[in-house]
Symmetry: C2
Subunit: 287 residues, 2 copies
C-alpha cells in the first residue's frame, strides 16, 4: 500500500464506513494478497462485528482516531456530506505521510473543503470508484466489486505526482482501472452518467399509481432498479451536485420534447432515429 | 386448447411470428403438456427451421394460410403494425370457431381494426402478455417466459363470454395470470408502465456523449437496458399509442420539474420525499 509504513512491519489499511463499498475494499484487498492489517471504523458496533465476521476487516473501532493513527492508507466510504469533516477530524491523528482518500460520488465541494483545511503532514486524493449497487451494508460486499471497474481520482493544483501515484496504486491493487480528472469535470460527467439516471428512476417509479403496479414488467423493473437506493445517501449527492444535475436534467428534457414533437406529428423517421441513437449507445455499452 | 377441434384427433396451435414471444409460447405449451401439433408461420425459412430445431414448433410454414386453415388457436406475435392486416388475411382461411388472439404491445387501434372487418365464423380476443426482453428471436425463447406473468386480454362490446373464457384458458395453460380490460384502458396503462420507460431509456442513452461512456456504471446500464430493443418493433408501438405516450411523458416532465425546483432551492425535504416515494414503489415491486 505504501513505502512509508515505517511504524510497523505490516502496513495498515483503514476503512471508514464498512458498508457495501468499504466492505468490498477490505475483501478485495485481502483476496488480492494485501498482507497487512485491515481496520474498520464506524458508529455501529454490530455493523463492525458483522463486517469482521464477513472477512471485510480484521478489527472494528467505533473511535475513528484508533484507526487514523495506525493507518498508512485511510479510505472514507461514508455519505458524501460526512466525508470532508470526518477527514479533517481524522487528519490530525494521522502519522506523517498517511494517504487519505475516499469513495464519494461527488467531488468538487468535498475536495475543496478538504484541501482548504488539510494539515500538511498528510496527503489527500479524492476518489470515486464507479461501482456499487442499490443495496447497502457489508453483507452485500463483494471481493470482485472493483474488478475492471473505473475509479476516478481527482487532480487539483495542489495534487503531487507522488500522491497521485500512491492513490492509483491503491485502487489498482483492488482490481480497478484508474482515470484522473478535475473534481469539477468529475461532477459534470457523473451528473449525466449516474446522478441523472438515479433521478429519472426515482421520478418514473414515483409517478406510478398503485393500481398500475400489476401492469409493470421487466422493462419497468430494470429502468427503476436504482430507485431502491437509500434516499439518505442520495439526497446529499444530489445537493452537492445540484447545479450539474439540473443541467443534465435540462438536456434530458430537451430530448423528451424531441420525442413528443415526433409523436404528435406521427413522424416515423424521427422516432426511428431517436430510438436508433439510444440503441447504438446501449449496444456499445454491452451487458 | 379448445373444445371445438373436431377436424382432427389432435388440436393445433398456430403461432404467427416465431421470435422471442412466439417461440416461448411454443416452448411453454409443450412443456406444460400440450399434446397437439404446434405450427409456426413466418417469412424467413431459416428462422422457422431454427425455431423447429429449438423445439418451439413442430413445423414451419412460410405461407400463413397453411397454418390458418389447421389451427384451433391462432396467435399472432408479429410487430403491432402488421397484426391487424395479417389477422384479417388469415381469418378467411380459418375453420369455424377458431380462436384468434395476439401478443401485441398496443391494443386500441389493432382491436378496432380487427373487429371492424372480422368474419363472423371466427372469434378474436386481443391479448398482451407482459413478458419479454430487449432481445429478439426464437434463440432467446424460454418455456418459463410467462410463468406468473400477467397477460391482459381485452374486452369490448362484441366480446363474448365464451371467447373470453377460451383466451383466458389459453394464456393460463402457458403459465400466465390473466386480467381483462378495455383496449383503451390497456393502452393508457401500458403507456406509463412500458412505453414511457422505453422512451426514457432511449432518451437517456441517446444523450450520452461518446467521451462519457467510460464513466457509466451499473446504474446507467440498468436504466437504459431496454433501449437495446429493436426500433423497428418499438416505433410502431409508439405510433399506435402516441397520444397516450405523450400524456405519460407530460406526467414525467412534471415530476422532473419538481426535482429541478427542489435542486435549485437546495430543498432537502422535498428531495427526500421525491426519492422516498420512488424507493417505496420500487421496493414494493420486488426484484
Amino acid at each position: 500500500l505504501s513505502d512509508d509504513s515505517t511504524n510497523s512491519l505490516k502496513p495498515t489499511l483503514g476503512i471508514i464506513g464498512v458498508g457495501l463499498i468499504g466492505g468490498s475494499i477490505g475483501l478485495a484487498a485481502r483476496r488480492r494478497g494485501f498482507f497487512g492489517q485491515i481496520l474498520g471504523a464506524g458508529r455501529d458496533r454490530a455493523a463492525l462485528d458483522r463486517a469482521k465476521d464477513l472477512g471485510c476487516i480484521d478489527h472494528g473501532h467505533t473511535d475513528l482516531s484508533n484507526v487514523a493513527r495506525l493507518a498508512d492508507v485511510l479510505v472514507f466510504c461514508t455519505p458524501v456530506d460526512c466525508i470532508a469533516s470526518q477527514i479533517l477530524a481524522a487528519a490530525g491523528q494521522c502519522r506523517p505521510g498517511t494517504l487519505i482518500t475516499d469513495a464519494g460520488s461527488t467531488k468538487a465541494q468535498l475536495v475543496a473543503e478538504v484541501e482548504e483545511h488539510l494539515p500538511a503532514h498528510v496527503v489527500f486524493i479524492g476518489s470515486h470508484p464507479l461501482a456499487g449497487s442499490e443495496k447497502r451494508g457489508a453483507e452485500h460486499a463483494r471481493p470482485d466489486l472493483f474488478d475492471n471497474r473505473l475509479t476516478i481520482i481527482t487532480h487539483t493544483a495542489s495534487t503531487t505526482a507522488t500522491a497521485e501515484r500512491r492513490a492509483t496504486e491503491f485502487w489498482k491493487s483492488l482490481g480497478s482501472r484508474v482515470a484522473r480528472m478535475s473534481p469539477e469535470r468529475h461532477d459534470e460527467a457523473l451528473a449525466l452518467t449516474s446522478h441523472l439516471p438515479h433521478l429519472l428512476a426515482a421520478a418514473l417509479a414515483g409517478i406510478l399509481p398503485d393500481q398500475l403496479r400489476d401492469f409493470t414488467a421487466n422493462g419497468f423493473r430494470d429502468s427503476t432498479r436504482i430507485a431502491a437506493g437509500d434516499p439518505s445517501l442520495w439526497v446529499p449527492i444530489f445537493l452537492q451536485n445540484r447545479v450539474g444535475l439540473c443541467e443534465a436534467t435540462v438536456g434530458l428534457q430537451n430530448r423528451l420534447i424531441e420525442f413528443q414533437k415526433a409523436l404528435l406529428a406521427a413522424d416515423e423517421g424521427t422516432l426511428t432515429r431517436l430510438l436508433a441513437e439510444g440503441k447504438k449507445v446501449r449496444d456499445d455499452l454491452g451487458s
